[in-house]
Symmetry: none
Subunit: 209 residues, 2 copies
Amino acid sequence: MEHLFITPAGRLRERWKQAFPGARAAVAVAEIGEATSGPRGIVWLDIASLPPAERSAEVQAAAAFGWPVVVMAATPGESEAFQLLNQGAVGYCHVKAAPEQLREIALVVEHGGFWMPPELMQRFIALSTRVVPTEAPVEPELNELTSRELMVAEQVAHGASNREIAAALDITERTVKAHLSAIFEKLGVRDRVQLALAMNNIPTYSTVN
Amino acid sequence: MEHLFITPAGRLRERWKQAFPGARAAVAVAEIGEATSGPRGIVWLDIASLPPAERSAEVQAAAAFGWPVVVMAATPGESEAFQLLNQGAVGYCHVKAAPEQLREIALVVEHGGFWMPPELMQRFIALSTRVVPTEAPVEPELNELTSRELMVAEQVAHGASNREIAAALDITERTVKAHLSAIFEKLGVRDRVQLALAMNNIPTYSTVN
DNA sequence: ATGCACATTGTACTTTTGGACAGGTAGGCG
DNA sequence: CGCCTACCTGTCCAAAAGTACAATGTGCAT
């Protein structure tokens, strides 16, 4: 496994040599543009001192080389991270990552995985759930609901509190609760939050319990 | 490195034994709920024959165990993948993945990486660039949330209770409440119901008081 | 008339939620 | 070094939500 560090300085940092004794350094990927047929390796791209505008192109060039590309940034930022990963990088870490960290990353990417700081990963996954189309809409059997229950359910679907519902329907809060209990039972939801989501055709996980 | 396969059948498939000769099998994570202090291992969760509704909870439970969780699905779908990763899984593969593949995945996740099929990863990246881009906020206010707050908000957006959120994020209920208070303040909503609706771009008319 | 579903309300209770007040830690920054 | 932010936690408390075990009334169908 070869390790190729692309860095403006053109020379390896101590940290890198510690991580991979046999590592090589270069100023640009173009400098070694033919080893595609040799043994697999990893390209480590130091973009810390690169103008932001050139980074994307640099990653593309490195990715074109055929080896997994790990980007090393000085100030890991989420928008940059994903832009660069989108350009073909498979790793994104801090330029001052410890040797052990680098070896971990190497293991991950050489086996087809992606690597980025855990916080970033968490955040992106969280964000993704917002845009990924969730099929399987849990279409509630609203037919099961009586007319009065349906009124209450609609109020909840719009975020109303029990007190507000009581006022709107001119009934007691107690009665609202009674209707709600019946609704929960019929629709198989646990509480008003899940009801509100179900009424808007939004699936809920953690429906258990 | 221990390999624990959670599968309804309770017994190892040939493929798994080939991949990890020392692997163990169990019907549920609860069955072995104390080895947290022992050597690190990986939990392989077979959700192929599990009702979709229970999968999320199962992943949560497995994640609570403390080991990296790899979900094995019969028909890998992107929405499910992201949901389950959001529940704490760090891997998502086909239940019939080849032994070599499993070993690759094991290497990746045991070194802190994430693994999912390349197509999914591509899709994931592509989607994320749509959400994250610097100055293209889908909901401007969401940018005000910190990373942790966003995670909590996501959970609420899917109907989770404080207790479930606490378990999922491995924090106390108190902390969840703290985050929620901050979220309510920042997003200008009154309670978790309105937050859940707001997160799903559903207007609420009773925002007053 | 009898049974039944629906709507309504009551009391009492547990659970959940959310806020108030008060900390503690860790990392980044001037 | 303080200062700030994010993150995490605690106790105490009050409101809201939800459940359990009721009762009452109305209309409708068998």
